[in-house]
Amino acid sequence: MGPISIISEFPEWLNLLIAFFIGIGFGFALEQAGFSSSRRLAGMFYGYDTTVIKVFFTAAIVALAGSQLLSFFGLLNLKLVFVNPYYVNSAILGGIIMGAGFIMGGYCPGTSISALSIGKIDAMIFLLGGMVGAFLFMETYPFIQTIAMENYKGNMRIDEWLGVSSGVFTLLLIIAAVAMFWIAELAEKKFNRPDITSDI
């Protein structure tokens, strides 16, 4: 029964080893998805390449459905899986800042690491900028502390919030995702940019 490292109280080194192997899988999957290319990632926002939305939603749904099935078969205790805390203001404000960073840099932190590993120099600079960003955040933390802590809602789950069962919510999410995949492929045809897509 999982989560294994919590239930069986793994020693720290073993948990860190697991982290390393999970990281290998994560980096491999991101690179295989083509996320090591900033122009492909940016294509999401200009319509010529919509890989991002396909990979992102498929991954989220697979993990979501998989965890619920594991829980149904008594193999995973979802109560012991971390649920991100919901700070309304900072989630929205942080998301907006991240969106701006995304379109400027063409990467997000995870994809920049995978791009760095195959030698993209712009990804290295992006990461350098990221480290400066983290440094600035920590130095300015006293000033934005109030924003960061405002409007705390706890570890809120969306199915409880909407009052539907998690399975029904997952189905709704899947239907929305399938519709988005369809629109995405239409967009790819409409905003077709062979000069860029052949390049990446």
Binding site: F73, F82, G154, L171, V178
Partner: protein
């Protein structure tokens, strides 16, 4: 056939199964019924009031007393070192970190035996470990620890130790519960146990 349609069909199929799952495991007991039954029949998970009194005297840090009565009753009197989780609030996600501590003995009590044993069964059924019940509840505590007097001619050393433990627990109980409310609050704040936090996210 188009890859998109294939994968869409797969996802929708799984989604439909999920939406119609006959029961949601996250809301149900984790243990199987025979496992819970064999735990329920074992006598090891109930403690006598005298055992609890000794732990209170020692200020045992590996145990946590959980008072299941409503807040009003709890405020009136409770065993020193207990926290209040009203029975109706038992499944509040807030308490997950409290229950989910394997190394801490969680001792449930109410006024009688019924609420405490229900709570014990529910918490144990949900998969949390190291749960106990204080046998007889507060009624038994009052009868044995608070009000019993030694009657007899000669006291054996064993009895002497027992009555001394009861006396000390009685003293602590009276002292804490006689405090004015503001001081009591401070006392509980100091007693608040650190909840187990799950690790995750990018923090």
């Amino acid at each position: 056939m188009d890859a998109r349609i294939k994968y869409s069909l797969l996802l929708v199929g799984i989604g439909i199964i999920l939406a119609f799952l006959p029961f949601s495991a996250t809301d149900s007991f984790r243990l199987k019924s025979d496992e819970l039954l064999s735990k329920s029949t074992s006598a090891e998970n109930s403690l006598s009031v005298d055992q609890v009194a000794r732990m209170v005297n020692k200020e045992d840090s590996t145990m946590l007393l959980i008072d299941l009565r409503e807040a009003g009753q709890f405020k009136e009197c409770n065993i020193p070192g207990s926290i209040n989780i009203p029975f109706s609030d038992l499944l509040n996600p807030w308490w997950e970190g409290t229950f989910n501590q394997k190394n801490i003995k969680k001792i449930f009590y109410g006024n009688g035996d019924q609420t405490a044993n229900c709570a014990w069964s529910i918490v144990t059924g949900l998969g949390y470990q190291n749960n106990f019940v204080m046998k007889g509840g507060l009624n038994e505590w009052f009868k044995t620890v608070m009000l019993s007097q030694f009657r007899g001619e000669k006291i054996t050393p064993l009895e002497n130790a027992l009555y001394e433990a009861r006396f000390n627990a009685r003293k602590a109980f009276t002292q804490i519960n006689s405090l004015p409310d503001s001081l009591k609050k401070q006392y509980f704040k100091a007693k608040e146990i650190k909840q187990l936090k799950l690790d995750g996210g990018c923090q």
